[in-house]
């Protein structure tokens, strides 16, 4: 008993004695840590934090001309308008039409792409075919094509005059208009799927290859066949990868811009506010009224909130489903 107390006391004394020295070391560590952190921190503050603050601040203002005649000539003045910009966004029909497009995309294109990527990864990882490098590379290659270029190529492949796909289908008696009002969103979704399926497949492949092979051997000894191994071992083990891929895809979809912007060139039916990102861009560039930083910022903020809610809802649902 006395021995323990004395060791505790000794320990305390030691710690007390060591304290000034330790805090000096801690101070130095603190300084070094921040020194390494600083370059990224400063850039991050300038590129991420400041714009967020800027957008929030600006969303309470609107740019109006004051003192000019009917043909302008006045000065652009920032006028405080309170929540008017948000009110405009929330009551704007074209904003919600854009959100609708993005939501349809999220609900249909993202799951199709993720499931296709997962299925391809499973097949590539299944040992049924031995030489898979070529396949893997071929699937991943579209990711190297910039979204704009991919969109241009596909727009041509949708074009009835030059596309061998449209001509071939027509020869079979199937006439498709890839730019028809109710088809154009699917045509767009196809471009995104084409670009990103291979990328997501690699995420899954990496997760699959991290599964220890002992598990397969154990399952095999227990008499499981290939299908059962895929469903009972592989699938549960790629859950966190699937969550990440889904979240990143949902966030990517929210920013849908390149595909509609390019398709707009050959399809005037795609409006300047086809997606919220296009609407924000055109508002900021002055081709949609009310224009300027204020309304554009408000669109961006509302969209970011919707993205956050969607991502959170998905994460929660995923957890609920997996608990059962």
């Amino acid at each position: 008993m006395t021995a323990t107390t004395s060791t505790v006391a000794a320990g305390k004394a030691k710690r007390r004695a060591a304290k000034p020295k330790a805090s000096l070391a801690a101070k130095r560590e603190n300084r070094t840590g921040w020194a390494f952190m600083a370059p990224f921190g400063l850039l991050f503050a300038f590129v991420f934090i400041l714009p967020i603050i800027w957008a929030v601040y600006n969303s309470f203002f609107r740019q109006v001309t004051e003192g000019g005649g009917a043909y302008g000539g006045g000065e652009l003045v920032n006028k405080f308008v309170g929540l008017e910009n948000f009110q405009y966004v929330i009551t704007s029909g074209q904003f919600w039409t854009g959100v609708g497009h993005v939501l349809i995309y999220t609900v249909i294109q993202v799951p199709i792409m993720i499931i296709a990527a997962l299925a391809l990864a499973m097949v590539v990882d299944s040992f049924v075919v031995k030489h898979i490098t070529g396949f893997r590379l071929g699937y991943f290659l579209p990711y190297a094509i910039p979204g704009v270029v991919a969109s241009i190529i596909w727009v041509y492949l949708y074009n009835g005059q030059i596309s061998p796909i449209v001509k071939g289908l027509a020869a079979l008696g199937i006439n498709v208009d890839f730019f028809a009002d109710n088809v154009v969103l699917a045509s767009m979704a196809n471009i995104t799927t084409w670009t990103f399926t291979g990328y997501n497949m690699l995420i899954f492949l990496a997760a699959l290859q991290a599964i220890p092979h002992d598990l397969y051997e154990a399952a095999r000894i227990d008499g499981a066949n290939g299908w059962q191994i895929a469903m009972k071992i592989k699938l549960p083990n790629v859950r966190s990868a699937a969550l990440l891929a889904m979240l990143l895809s949902i966030v990517g979809t929210i920013q849908l811009f390149n595909e509609p912007q390019v398709m707009q060139i050959s399809d005037p039916g795609i409006s300047k506010a086809y997606t919220p990102m296009m609407m924000a861009m055109n508002t900021s560039q002055g081709t949609i009224t009310p224009s300027g930083d204020g309304p554009a910022s408000a669109i961006a903020i509302v969209m970011a909130l919707i993205a956050g809610v969607l991502a959170m809802a998905y994460a929660l649902i995923e957890r609920k489903v997996n608990e059962q």
Binding site: A26, N30, T32, G33, W34, A35, F36, M37, P39, F40, G41, F46, V47, F48, P51, I52, N58, L120, S126, F127, V129, K130, F135, L137, Y139, F140, Y143, A144, I145, P146, G147, V148, I152, I153, W154, Y156, Q161, P164, W194, L202, I203, F204, A206, A207, S240, A241, L243, V251, I254, Q255, F257, I265, M277, M281, S284, D293, A300, M303, A307, G308
Partner: protein, 320 residues
């Protein structure tokens, strides 16, 4: 004494040999499954058909673009879309024609645009990689005040739709009179929360604390430790981060579209977009040639460094 060391050496050698053999056998076993696991012929055929169908889907547009890049506008509509319109012996001429038309449509700026893209992607990927690795190392190996808050904010921004930030970024750069400069593309592209995340994961797993301690005891300063030891250990990770940043910058379209207006500053994506959106534009073959030449650098990086892609994605997938 000497015979004892000899025998120890021999034993060591024998052990290594056995290990190598075991490794070889394991390797072979991986490819050669036991009969119970051998797939049936039907499964095999179905699998191969599925894999090939997918491959056709992913490669067909690229194949078509290659064919189309040799055609004149009238051949584009008139000839078979799946094959060259001219004989193989006339192909070099057709390519030369479209190449000169491409330079004509781009007012001779085409290679300038490719060069710009290389500068934007190269510089921002280089700077971005260094700062991301430094910050990742800082949060993995040091305790500093506010560390967890910083990590939380950066990771939160990984799920932020970053394109939405382009609008306030544009107006900030505009008020600093920095729009329509190279910096207006390079600075925003330098910062990648995903790069930070990768840097942190790699620093946690591949920089041993003991090594840092040993270097400190030897009297090396923190900066020297970082630049001579840590960077070397993190080199593979840096290649991965560099690749991600490079491709992200190369493929970015919205940012240059908003920031840059003069022809001589455009990256190749924006240049090609400007070319298609011209009202008088009709030479799709020449455009396809530009599209292919414009993605060539990225494709080369892809094929040359593909193992680094998977390494990076593995870190994201397993840890994330």
């Amino acid at each position: 004494m000497s015979s004892a060391t000899m025998s120890a050496k021999q034993a060591e050698r024998a052990r290594k040999k056995a290990e190598r053999q075991l490794e070889k056998r394991r390797e072979a076993a991986k490819n050669d499954l036991p009969r119970s696991m051998q797939p049936s012929l039907l499964v095999k055929i179905i699998t191969i058909v599925v894999l090939c169908a997918a491959l056709i889907y992913f490669l067909f547009p690229i194949y078509w673009a290659i064919i189309a890049s040799t055609k004149t506008p009238s051949q584009m509509t008139g000839s078979n879309g799946l094959w060259f319109a001219v004989g193989l012996d006339q192909l070099p001429d057709a390519i030369a024609t479209n190449y000169s038309k491409l330079l004509g449509w781009t007012r001779g700026q085409f290679w300038r645009w490719v060069f710009n893209s290389l500068v934007y992607s190269g510089v921002s990927a280089f700077v971005g990689t260094i700062v991301a690795v430094m910050a990742g190392y800082a949060t993995a190996k040091f305790n500093f005040r506010g560390k967890n808050v910083a990590i939380g904010i950066i990771m939160g921004c990984m799920l932020m739709p970053a394109a939405l930030l382009t609008i306030p970024q544009y107006s900030i750069f505009h008020s600093l009179h920095l729009t329509n400069t190279m910096l207006s593309i390079i600075i925003p592209c330098c910062v990648s929360p995903f790069g930070f995340f990768l840097g942190r994961v790699y620093a946690q797993t591949s920089v041993p604390d003991e090594l840092l301690e040993a270097a400190r005891i030897d009297g090396a300063g923190e900066a020297r430790i970082f630049f001579t030891i840590v960077l070397r250990l993190l080199a593979p990770a840096m290649v991965t981060i560099f690749l991600f940043l490079f491709v992200a910058t190369w493929n970015n379209f919205l940012l240059p579209l908003m920031m840059v207006s003069s022809d001589s500053l455009k990256p190749v994506t924006l240049g090609l977009y400007g070319m298609v959106s011209l009202a008088t534009f009709n030479d799709r073959g020449a455009l396809m040639m530009g599209a292919l030449l414009g993605v060539l650098p990225v494709i080369v990086l892809f094929l040359g460094l593909q193992r680094y892609w998977q390494a990076g994605l593995a870190a994201g997938a397993v840890k994330g």
